[in-house]
């Protein structure tokens, strides 16, 4: 079936505006992760959803960042009052239910490149 999809692929916004990034995981994958990757940096974990459980928000860098996952499928990452340091590629990944070792394999989407002017 289809892989993980993200939209938009590119987003340019002005400082102070809100942005919303979308992730469609692979069908049947109940675990969903958001990461960001700043230029030349490694992947930074942001938030993790597992089924209908409350998300692990420990990686969100500030209260301007929030994420939700409706119906256990599509997820949106919202950044309010964007700052220039928010410029990065935002990657989404999904995996099968946590609980078996075979489920640690994450499948990544193509990412959204966010540029805050």
């Amino acid at each position: 079936g289809a892989g993980v999809s993200q939209s938009p692929s590119n987003k340019v916004t002005e400082k102070g505006k809100d942005v919303e990034l979308r992730c469609d995981p692979i069908s049947g994958h109940t675990a969903l992760y958001w990461y960001r990757q700043s230029l030349g940096q490694g992947l930074e974990f942001l938030i993790y959803f597992q089924g209908n459980s409350a998300p692990d928000k420990s990686g969100l860098p500030s209260d301007r960042f929030s994420a939700e996952r409706t119906g256990g499928s599509v997820s949106t990452l919202t950044i309010q009052r964007t700052q220039q340091e928010d410029s990065a590629v935002y990657l989404c990944a999904s995996s099968l239910p946590v609980g078996g070792l075979s489920t640690d394999t994450q499948y990544f989407g193509p990412g959204t490149r966010l540029t805050v002017l």
Partner: protein, 111 residues
């Protein structure tokens, strides 16, 4: 604090060379270690390692884990220009139920 360290951070070789990439980690409760190749934006999965001493192999790539010394290596033999990428190491922390990524090794293979 969980930590994943990779070395070298950058490596330039010529086609045909063999390279070894290193990944060491400190996590609260280790479950698995994964290697990814990142060429453009999205990383692609290479290997998942959970047991010490068992080599995983795929073509010219191979990887092994040492849970006692807390490290893994990724070997690439007979490198090709298409191997040029950033290679990411990630560890799944069972305590925090999250992945911790290393900074990556940028490999450049020259013709």
């Amino acid at each position: 604090e969980d930590k994943v360290v990779q070395s070298p951070l950058s490596l330039v070789v010529h086609e045909g060379d063999t390279v070894t990439l290193n990944c060491s980690y400190e996590v609260t409760n280790f479950r698995s270690l994964l290697w990814y190749k990142q060429e453009k934006k999205a990383p692609t999965f290479l290997f998942m390692l959970t047991s010490s001493g068992i080599e995983k192999k795929s073509g010219r790539l191979s990887s092994i884990l040492d849970k006692k010394e807390l490290f893994s290596i990724l070997n690439i033999t007979a490198t090709q220009t298409g191997d040029s990428a950033v290679y990411l190491c990630a560890v799944f922390d069972n305590y925090g139920q999250n992945f911790v990524f290393g900074p990556g090794t940028r490999l450049s293979v020259l013709p």
